[in-house]
C-alpha cells in the first residue's frame, strides 16, 4: 500500500496545510462565542412577573442552571424565551442544551456522573430508568405543592417513582386528534363526528363519493411503526375504557388478550380497508412506506379527508397553509364510543433534576407555576401544557387552543402514550415492528402473539 519515498515538496505542503489549518482553527476557537441560538420575540413582551416566590431560595445572582433536553429547533427558541422572566427575577443564567439523541445520551451522562442540573424527560419509562441510576433528586416541596394545585392527579402520578415524587410535568401534546379540511366539510355538508359510530358513517359517506377518506403514514426511520401504536392505543382506550388500558400498559392483562384483538381489529376496519385508505398515496401497504410527516399533507392536496395524528403535526404544514377552524386544515377530537366519554391519549415532558442546589429548586418551582405556562403560551406555536392555570386565550395557535380545551375538559380522562411506558423491548421495538408487519399483511393474532412474546419476563 505504501512506498518508501516522498518528495520533500509534498512533506512541506502537508505540513503547511495542517499548520495553516491549525492556526485558523485556534484563532477561530478564540473568536467563537457561546451562544446556542437566540429568540425572535423580545423578552420584554412577556412582562415582569411576581418575584416573591423565589426570594425564599436565597440570593441566586450569578448562579447557573443547565438544562438538557430533546427539544431542539424550532421549539427551543420559545423555551429559552420563556425563562427570561425567571432570569430577570433571580439573576440565574439558564444554559440550554438541546439534543435529538437525548434519550440515549442522558442515561450515559447520568451513569458517568455528569448529568445536567435539569433534564426534560419525555417518557415515564425513561424517567424510571433515570431514577434507578440513583443520581436523580426528588422534587422540592415547593414544586410538589404547585403540581398538586395546577395539575391533575394522573399527571402527578406519571412523575412519581416508587411513591416518591420526582418530576413535575412541563409540556403536553394531544394525540387523539383527526385532521381534516374545514372547507371540504362545509362544501359537502359533513359534520364533525361526536361518537365512533358517527366517524364510521362519515367515512362511509366520503368513501361512497369514490374518494378514499383516510390517509396514514407510519414510516419514521428506525422508529417506523410508532403512529400505528398510537392508533391502537386510542382505540384500546375507547373500546375497553381507561382502567383496562392501565392494566394493559402495566402488562396485568396480556398483550394478546381479547381486548387487544378488539382494539387492533377496530383499527383494521379503518387502515386495512381498501375503500378507506390510502387517500392520494396508494393502497393499504403504502401506509408502511409513507413517512408520517408527509401523509397528512394529502388533505391540502384534496386527495384525502381525514388523518389521525397528534397536535404537533401542525408543524408539518408549510407557512402558506392556514391551520384554523376557518382555514385550510384543522383537527377534531377523535370521538369516544359515546359523546360523554372522552378518553384522551397524549404525551408530555417531565422536569427531572439531578441537583438540589437552591437555584435548581427555584427553577423547578418556576416551571411548575401557571405564570410560566402562560408566559410560554404567549411565545409558542405548537405547544400546550396540562397546567390548569393555563389561560386558553394566551395560546396563539388555534390547534393549541383546541388541545388545551381537550386537556382541560372536566370529562376528559387523560392517559399517557402506552408505548412510552412499556419496557423498551416492547414499546420502542416489538410494538413498532409488529405493527408495521400487521399493516403489510400479517394477521391480528400473529401480531399480538409476537408482541406478547417479546415482553421481558
Amino acid at each position: 500500500m505504501f512506498v518508501q519515498r516522498g518528495s520533500s515538496r509534498s512533506r512541506i505542503a502537508l505540513a503547511g496545510a495542517l499548520s495553516a489549518g491549525l492556526v485558523l482553527g485556534l484563532s477561530a476557537c478564540a473568536d467563537s462565542k457561546d451562544d446556542g441560538g437566540s429568540g425572535t420575540v423580545p423578552a420584554s413582551s412577556l412582562g415582569a412577573i411576581d418575584c416573591t416566590p423565589y426570594t425564599a431560595f436565597g440570593d441566586l445572582k450569578g448562579k447557573e442552571v443547565s438544562i438538557y433536553t430533546g427539544i431542539v429547533t424550532p421549539e427551543d427558541a420559545p423555551q429559552k424565551q420563556s425563562y427570561k422572566p425567571f432570569e430577570d427575577c433571580t439573576g440565574v443564567t439558564i444554559k440550554y442544551e438541546g439534543d435529538k439523541a437525548f434519550e440515549t445520551q442522558v442515561l450515559i451522562r447520568a451513569e458517568a456522573g455528569n448529568p445536567p442540573d435539569v433534564a426534560f424527560v419525555p417518557q415515564p419509562g425513561l424517567l424510571q430508568r433515570l431514577v434507578a441510576t440513583g443520581k436523580a433528586k426528588e422534587a422540592p416541596a415547593e414544586t410538589a405543592a404547585l403540581v398538586d394545585k395546577n395539575f391533575g392527579a394522573d399527571w402527578k402520578a406519571y412523575g412519581t417513582v416508587d411513591g416518591k415524587f420526582y418530576a413535575a410535568p412541563l409540556g403536553a401534546n394531544v394525540k387523539s386528534l383527526v385532521w381534516y379540511s374545514p372547507k371540504e366539510f362545509t362544501d359537502n355538508g359533513y359534520t364533525v363526528p361526536t361518537t365512533l359510530a358517527e366517524l364510521k358513517t362519515l367515512s362511509d359517506k366520503i368513501a361512497a363519493t369514490g374518494k378514499k377518506p383516510w390517509c396514514a403514514g407510519i414510516s419514521s426511520g428506525e422508529a417506523t411503526g410508532w403512529p400505528m401504536t398510537d392508533w391502537m392505543e386510542d382505540f384500546y382506550l375507547r373500546l375497553n375504557g381507561v382502567d383496562a388500558y392501565d392494566k394493559w400498559v402495566k402488562h396485568e392483562t396480556p398483550f394478546n388478550s381479547p381486548e387487544s384483538t378488539k382494539a387492533l381489529d377496530a383499527v383494521g376496519e379503518y387502515l386495512k380497508n381498501d375503500k378507506y385508505v390510502n387517500g392520494g398515496l396508494g393502497d393499504v401497504k403504502s401506509i408502511a412506506s409513507t413517512t408520517f410527516q408527509d401523509a397528512g399533507l394529502q388533505i391540502i392536496e384534496g386527495a384525502c379527508s381525514l388523518h389521525r395524528q397528534a397536535s404537533f403535526y401542525a408543524a408539518n404544514f408549510d407557512k402558506n397553509t392556514k391551520v384554523a377552524e376557518d382555514g385550510d386544515v384543522y383537527a377534531f377530537y377523535l370521538p369516544g364510543e359515546t359523546a360523554d366519554k372522552k378518553p384522551v391519549l397524549g404525551g408530555g415532558e417531565f422536569v427531572l433534576a439531578f441537583a438540589d442546589r437552591p437555584e435548581v429548586k427555584a427553577f423547578q418551582t418556576f416551571l411548575a407555576t401557571d405564570t410560566w405556562a402562560n408566559a410560554k403560551a404567549k411565545v409558542s406555536s405548537g405547544w400546550v401544557s396540562a397546567n390548569k392555570g393555563l389561560q386558553i386565550s394566551n395560546l396563539v395557535n388555534p390547534i393549541d387552543q383546541l388541545s388545551a380545551k381537550i386537556l382541560q375538559d372536566p370529562n376528559a380522562q387523560f392517559r399517557f402514550d402506552g408505548s412510552d411506558m412499556m419496557p423498551a423491548a416492547v414499546g420502542s421495538n416489538a410494538f413498532w415492528k409488529q405493527a408495521t408487519n400487521w399493516i403489510t399483511g400479517q394477521d391480528t393474532k400473529k401480531t399480538l402473539d409476537a408482541i406478547e412474546a417479546a415482553w421481558p419476563k
Binding site: 516522498g6 512533506r11 482553527g25 456522573g113 408549510d318
Partner: protein, 306 residues
C-alpha cells in the same frame, strides 16, 4: 475515457508474454475498453445519489416534499433558501458557522497528535531493541479489536473525574487513543520496510536515533503519514458518536452534532438536511482533493526511484 491502447498491447502480449512484467500485464488487462466502460458506469451509478442530494439542496421546500429531485429536469425551479436557512443561526436554531470552526478545532489536533505519537512509537518498534518489545507490540496490535463503543462510558467517567469534561480535550484525547493502535501498526510496517542498509549508513555517519528519525526516516514516511492523515481526518470530521457523548454542549459541538439536530424535534425540517450535508462536506472534499494529489505523487515518486 477509452483509448486505442489495447490494439497495440494485445499482439505484443501474445508473442512476448513471458517478457512482460506483472505490472505491464496488469496494465494491459485493465486498459480494455470494456473495463473503462465498466468503470465509467460504476462511477456514474455511484455519483447519482450525491448528485440528487446536490439538486435537492437547491429546491424549494414544497418541491422537496411533493416530488423527487429528478422532476427538476422538466420543471426547473431553484432557490438558495435552504442554504440561507442552514447558515443563519436564528432560522436553523443551530449555529452552523460556529460548529464548523468547532469541527476544525477538534479535527486538526485529533489528526496531528496520533500522527506524531504513532510515528515515534513505530520507529521504536521497528528499529530499537528493548525488553518486552514484541509483547508490547502484540498488545497494541490487539487493541484494534476493542470496539470504541464499549470505552465511551468508562472514558466519560474518567474525564469527569479529571474535570476536563465539556472541553475539547475530551475529543482530542479520545480520538487520539482510538487512532493510535492502527496508526502505530501501519507506520511500523512501513518503517520496517526501509532498507536496513540506509539506517546502518546513517549510523556509521554518526547519526543517533533522533537524527535518523528526523533526517532519514521522516522524509521517507511522508506518503504514509499523508495517507493515514487523510483517513484520520475524514473519520474524525464525520464522527458523530464520540462527539455526541463528549462534546454535545452547544459551545463545543461539531458540525455532525448540529446537523443531526437540524431536522427539528420531530423531523419536520428534514428538507434542510441536504443543504446542511453540503456545507459539511466542503472541508473533507477539499482536504481529500488537495492531499490526495500529494499522496499520489508520493506513491509515484517512490515507485519510479525505488
Amino acid at each position: 475515457m477509452t483509448t486505442a491502447a489495447p490494439l497495440t498491447t494485445t499482439p505484443v502480449a501474445t508473442t512476448e508474454t513471458k517478457k512482460l512484467s506483472a505490472a505491464a500485464s496488469a496494465k494491459a488487462k485493465l486498459t480494455s475498453p470494456w473495463a473503462s466502460l465498466a468503470a465509467v458506469v460504476l462511477a456514474v451509478l455511484w455519483t447519482i445519489p450525491t448528485f440528487g442530494l446536490l439538486i435537492t439542496s437547491f429546491r424549494t421546500t414544497e418541491d422537496i416534499r411533493r416530488s423527487g429531485w429528478w422532476t427538476t429536469f422538466t420543471n426547473p425551479l431553484f432557490t438558495l433558501d435552504n442554504y440561507k436557512a442552514v447558515l443563519d443561526p436564528e432560522q436553523a436554531g443551530a449555529n452552523l458557522p460556529d460548529s464548523f470552526l468547532n469541527s476544525l478545532v477538534m479535527t486538526i489536533p485529533s489528526v496531528i497528535i496520533p500522527l506524531c505519537l504513532a510515528s515515534l512509537a513505530a520507529y521504536a518498534f521497528a528499529w530499537m531493541n528493548f525488553p518486552g518489545k514484541n509483547i508490547l507490540f502484540i498488545a497494541i496490535f490487539a487493541l484494534q479489536i476493542v470496539p470504541l463503543q464499549v470505552t465511551l462510558l468508562p472514558l466519560l467517567q474518567l474525564f469527569v473525574a479529571w474535570d476536563i469534561d465539556g472541553t475539547f480535550w475530551t475529543v482530542w484525547l479520545s480520538h487520539s487513543t482510538f487512532a493510535l493502535p492502527l496508526a502505530i501498526y501501519l507506520l511500523h510496517n512501513f518503517i520496517k520496510e526501509v532498507p536496513a542498509s540506509l539506517i546502518e549508513a546513517a549510523r556509521i555517519d554518526g547519526a543517533g536515533h533522533v537524527s535518523i528519525f528526523f533526517r532519514v526516516l521522516l522524509p521517507l514516511l511522508t506518503p504514509a503519514l499523508a495517507a493515514f492523515g487523510i483517513f484520520q481526518f475524514l473519520w474524525v470530521w464525520n464522527d458523530l458518536l464520540v462527539s455526541l457523548t463528549f462534546a454535545g454542549a452547544p459551545a463545543i459541538s461539531p458540525l455532525t452534532v448540529q446537523l443531526s439536530n437540524l431536522t427539528g424535534t420531530r423531523g419536520t425540517a428534514w428538507y434542510l438536511l441536504s443543504a446542511g450535508a453540503f456545507v459539511s462536506i466542503i472541508v473533507p472534499v477539499t482536504v481529500f482533493l488537495l492531499l490526495q494529489r500529494y499522496f499520489v505523487r508520493g506513491l509515484l515518486a517512490g515507485s519510479v526511484k525505488g
